[in-house]
């Protein structure tokens, strides 16, 4: 595909703005740029076709199966997009007088109220723009809490070694020392390891439950009790919330604060990497520290970004929650779990699950034995799936399983899709025995073959420059 700059022809363009109907103001020469920016000059026809060509080389969840573990790629309803595009939402200035924005407040209040009920929390903020941003907010709430009680000496955050990399990175951004504790082989918290590191310096624990291998930690009440006894608080990483809605609530497990990914659990689109929304909920004792916008609400304890957050994303999530409602929310989770277990059992017998037990909304395949035997790696299998029009699962995560493929089918897939996917895994399992070389070179039908990432990192080319 040509770059848009390679299609640019000097003097071309669209006629968007008319003539200026007032006199231009003079920009002093000392303030003026010396050269016009080298932006593309392109007709609207070419522009439109350029991006259409690009989009034909993108796979979204609305295009096909996308079992990317830990990412909850469920179908993104079109009605939510239509609602979020209403001028009554898009044309509202964030600093318009409060009496003209009652609808926006209602969206935020309702979404907050519903999400508090789903998670067992007392307060909610929509400022965080993404999951990692939500984590950052949650841990800052914990920091403010300890500071407010004169316990700023609590400087350690406990993170299991099975955690996502954002957890330790977040703790570090909050000035905390990260204490990694080993997990039990099934990814659950090793209670003895936890007890050994708890103390007067414990600020908190970061945990996701179900954990990163898709197993619900049945000791969760004991874990949160131990942390609270030591004077620490418990932070719930909501990455896996789609497994448990309506069945069990983080607030009832003993967590003090939580972030949710509205772009996972509540069906708002990922947009190729954002915008999402990382709503953060907390128990009553943390509410006073929730972030505010200096301009909208006045300076508060914290501020994570400008204004009220990714508002339109919240609109979509609210529309989704209202659609599903009291019965539909638990139904979504229960079927996400059912679909994961069904797919796991359909694949089992070829690729083996790392843990042979009931999983939650996702499961991990362990390909280490398979690789030893055939030489075909998890990466090769993942790349081979692309030739069938299936997005590969999450690869090589969590780190505690070698040659891991993590699958999360979500509740919006039909049984036929799951059967189809299982059949493809079976085919690849057999192909590895007969033609491993073919799989080492997969994909064969994608727009590109495997890219040279070493070259990209050694000699970075990060923008187009005209020859």
């Amino acid at each position: 595909m040509k770059l848009i700059f390679e299609k640019s022809v000097k003097g071309r363009g669209s006629s968007i703005l008319g003539k200026c109907d007032v006199e231009y103001a003079a920009l002093p020469e000392a303030l003026a740029r010396t050269q016009a920016p080298a932006l593309p000059e392109i007709s609207e026809t070419d522009l439109s076709r350029h991006y259409t060509e690009l989009c034909h080389n993108v796979h979204g969840v609305n295009c096909g199966f996308y079992p990317l573990g830990s990412c909850t790629m469920k179908y993104n309803p079109r009605i939510d997009e239509e609602i979020a595009a209403l001028p009554g939402f898009t044309a509202v200035h964030p600093l318009a007088p409060a009496d003209t924005t009652a609808g926006c407040r209602e969206v935020l209040d309702k979404a907050g109220e519903y999400l508090c009920e789903v998670t067992g929390m007392d307060g909610m903020t929509f400022q965080p723009a993404a999951g990692a941003h939500g984590e950052f907010t949650g841990i800052l709430l914990i920091k403010k809490y300890h500071d407010s009680r004169g316990e700023a000496h609590r400087n350690k955050i406990i993170v299991p070694d099975s955690a996502h990399g954002t957890n330790p990175a977040t703790a570090a951004m909050c000035g905390y020392q990260v204490v990694n504790i080993p997990s039990a082989p099934n990814g659950c918290v090793d209670l003895e390891a936890l007890k050994a590191v708890l103390g007067d310096d414990t600020a908190g624990l970061m945990l996701t439950n179900p954990n990163t291998v898709g197993i619900f930690d049945e000791n969760i009440l004991e874990i949160t009790r131990l942390v609270h006894e030591a004077g620490g608080l418990c932070y719930y990483d909501g990455a896996n919330l789609n497994a448990i809605m309506g069945a069990v609530r983080p607030g009832d497990m003993g967590f003090d604060c939580i972030h949710m990914n509205l772009h996972k659990t509540f069906a708002t689109p990922h947009g190729g990497g954002g915008p999402g929304a990382g709503a953060v909920g907390c128990k009553a004792h943390l509410k006073e520290f929730l972030p505010t916008s200096a301009l909208m609400e006045g300076e508060g304890a914290l501020q994570m970004r400008s204004f009220a957050g990714n508002f339109l994303v919240v609109v979509k999530a609210l529309a989704y929650i209202m659609t599903l409602g009291r019965e539909g929310i638990p139904e979504a989770s229960a079927n996400a779990v059912l679909n994961a277990n069904y797919l796991m059992r359909r694949i089992q017998g070829t690729f083996e699950p790392a843990f042979d037990r009931i999983c939650m909304h996702e499961f991990v395949l362990d390909l280490s034995e398979f690789k030893k035997r055939t030489g075909v790696s998890a990466l090769d299998v993942a790349k081979s799936l692309i030739d069938y029009g299936m997005h590969p699962p999450t690869m090589y995560f969590p780190l505690i399983v070698h040659e891991a493929l993590m699958l999360e089918p979500t509740e919006t897939e039909s049984r036929e899709t799951l059967d189809w996917a299982a059949d493809i895994f079976r085919k690849l399992y057999e192909l590895a025995e007969t033609d491993p070389e073919y799989m080492h070179n997969a994909p064969h039908s994608a727009y590109i073959a495997r890219p040279d990432e070493v070259r990209a990192a050694r000699t970075p080319i990060l923008r187009y420059t005209a020859e």
Binding site: R12, L17, C20, Y24, A25, L31, R33, T34, A36, L39, E41, L47, Y51, L54, V58, H59, G60, V61, G88, H93, T100, C104, E106, A129, G131, F136, K143, G165, T166, P168, A169, M173, F216, D217, G246, A247, R249, D252, M253, A267, G271, G272, G274, L302, Q303, M304, R305, S306, A308, M322, T323, L324, G325, L338, N341, Y342, R415, A456, A457, R463
Partner: protein, 437 residues
């Protein structure tokens, strides 16, 4: 009630049986009974698509949409070309995840690479990332990039956006670092105070151009002061203004950031917006966030990938400089389409017309007895007036379906863009005249 679960009741029973279970409760056997939720969630009953559509429209209708917006202060009402609304709505772009699998994501990766190139063109910098959450977090991430073992203090101009100042303060609170605010004088950063406060422990100084009050800062002179003190210089620039004003690179900035919302994103009550972030080759490896790079594939053809990943949290964990692991890809796509649609001349025209309309409005208002400009400096498309009866003025404008400027510190902060016609501006001026007469 609505549902997006395709399987029928009968199919679900069969699937349960296929995995050897009787009912759904068995799926949650690891959840201890004592915390299993044995009551329905206290949520309203689900709705059909038609009902939800109606309910949400009712909510949208409780907001007031003004036909003219003369309020900016960080969110700007520019004209959005029609094509900019349709391209990011394509389901492939809309519903894809982060482009981890390059072979299945070339379209997203290329669109980000093109966006990075356009941001470099606009700012004059060498390297742009794939974007961050918004302008305020871009400023906070930039400040974090500059801190090292010896230099921990961040300076920010009091004439920056209050939300930016507060966000940077929060990020500094996180790492237990100090934020010091350089006071403003006559609506601009006080250069003498800056000089004095640039001590040996200062890592960086952030200035907004044009600043919160619309005033142009003396950005080049600041660069000199900051660099003399051995600190890094961060400029937060309005991207529309950048089509005509001196680039951060020309001014000597080490890092250029800003709020990308004016590049084709609607006001949307504050988000989603876009933070752009660019730097020099020298500091490339410290840049946080996703970056797309060009390479070749196994056949030798051009290909794009997420690059320089060893900077990021999933590899560096607690040693990463930021925990960010996404960008605002769809907003970056929107900005790219906007910049390509407008082109260099269209962007410059949007900037010139916005500036022209703001100046026309200012001179019309200041011709009214009792109204004057609060600050004396050159300004772009925002300015602060001093006038009596500000509340009555804004109420009278609202009656005429016009959202007037934002009340700030005893004045009104006005903003005009290319969207406002001369006729409307004349009407505004006459309404204000009437209220004050």
């Amino acid at each position: 009630m609505g549902s997006y679960v395709p399987s029928t009741r009968e199919e679900r029973r069969e699937m349960l049986r296929a995995i050897g279970l009787e009912d759904y409760r068995d799926l949650y056997k690891d959840v201890p009974q004592e915390m299993y939720l044995d009551r329905p969630l206290n949520l309203p009953e689900g709705m059909s698509e038609l009902e939800v559509s109606r309910a949400m429209k009712d909510m949208a209708n409780k907001n007031r949409v003004f036909s003219t917006v003369l309020r900016g202060a960080g969110a700007y009402d520019h004209y959005i070309p029609s094509v900019v609304k349709y391209i990011p709505a394509k389901e492939e772009f809309l519903t894809a995840y982060t482009p981890y699998q390059a072979e299945m994501s070339q379209g997203v990766l290329q669109s980000i690479f093109e966006y990075q190139t356009m941001i470099c063109a606009l700012t004059g910098m060498d390297v742009s990332n794939a974007s961050v959450y918004d302008g305020a977090t871009a400023a906070a991430e930039a400040a974090a990039m500059c801190r090292d073992r010896k230099r921990r203090v961040t300076l920010i101009s009091a004439a920056a956006h209050p939300d930016t100042i507060n966000t940077v303060r929060t990020y500094c609170y996180g790492t237990n670092d100090q934020l010091r605010i350089i006071p403003a004088k006559d609506g601009k950063t006080d250069m003498d105070a800056l000089k004095e406060m640039l001590t040996e422990d200062v890592a960086s100084f952030y200035v907004q151009q044009p600043n919160f009050y619309g005033q142009f800062e003396d950005a080049e002179a600041m660069a000199e002061l900051v660099h003399q003190a051995g600190a890094m210089y961060i400029m937060g620039c309005n991207p529309i203004a950048l089509a005509i004003i001196k680039t951060p690179a020309e001014c000597g900035a080490d890092i250029a950031v800003g709020e990308g919302q004016p590049l084709g994103m609607p006001l949307s009550y504050g988000g989603p917006y876009l933070g752009y972030m660019a730097t020099t080759t020298k500091h490339m490896r410290k840049l946080p966030g996703r970056i797309v790079g060009e390479t070749v594939d196994a056949k030798g053809d051009r290909a794009f990938v997420l690059s320089l990943q060893a900077r990021e949290q999933h590899i560096r964990r607690e040693k990463a400089s930021s925990n960010i692991c996404s960008n605002q890809a769809l907003c970056a796509l929107t900005a790219g389409v906007y910049m390509a649609s407008m082109g260099p001349e269209g962007m410059a025209e949007a900037a010139r017309q916005s500036m022209a309309k703001a100046h026309y409005l200012a001179s019309g208002l200041c011709a009214i007895p009792g109204v004057s400009l609060k600050y004396s400096g050159e300004y772009f498309h925002e300015f602060v007036t001093l006038m009596p009866k500000a509340d009555e003025v804004l109420a009278a404008l609202a009656d005429a379906d016009i959202l007037g400027g934002l009340p700030v510190e005893g004045g009104i902060l006005w903003c005009a863009t290319e969207k406002v016609s001369k006729d409307v501006l004349d009407k505004v001026i006459s309404i204000v005249k009437e209220v004050l007469s």
